[in-house]
Symmetry: C2
Subunit: 114 residues, 2 copies
Amino acid sequence: MANLYDKAYDFEKAMRESDEFNGLKAAYEAVMGNAEAKALFEEFRDTQMSLQEKQMNGEEITEEEVQKANEIVEKVQKDSLISKLMEEEYRLNTIINEISGIITKPLEELYSAE
Amino acid sequence: MANLYDKAYDFEKAMRESDEFNGLKAAYEAVMGNAEAKALFEEFRDTQMSLQEKQMNGEEITEEEVQKANEIVEKVQKDSLISKLMEEEYRLNTIINEISGIITKPLEELYSAE
């Protein structure tokens, strides 16, 4: 058991030192350091979350809300700092998904046997 | 990047060699090697999944279904092979949750900063 946790901490350390994480960190800090980009990014996050919540609760999403969300997405795409951040998020998420597949492979193999 | 994958494979190897994984594997194989326990375990899984699906789709779960599910749970609890398997599953799941917290800590810290 100690061994598993050791390996997890090794991984955490490698994550902190990786180009991918530091790329994301720099992009995040660039957005947070720019008042306009920060406000837009937070508006975008809030909108996404509120729409997701409604969807999960089976609530109806109005035409107006869809339009508002689209407008924010358009603004976000035009903001170079946020676009960069999203690129970096996508890059790291892809890696994390692959890694989570590697890590859970023993369990998947076990349960798919027979 | 190579480094992150290396660490993930190290972790996978440690998982395969761990007492926890091998305990789960032995318990799973013991259930699968016993026709009666295997059938009961599969019935239990199918029932749980079908109830979960209904819940997620907002479908109503009938009194009869609840009763049937309870009966299976009772039978499962009395089966020593399946009880052992569930104990081992719980043990490994707890570790995996803790480890997933360790691994995603850098990201969590980044996004909760400021």
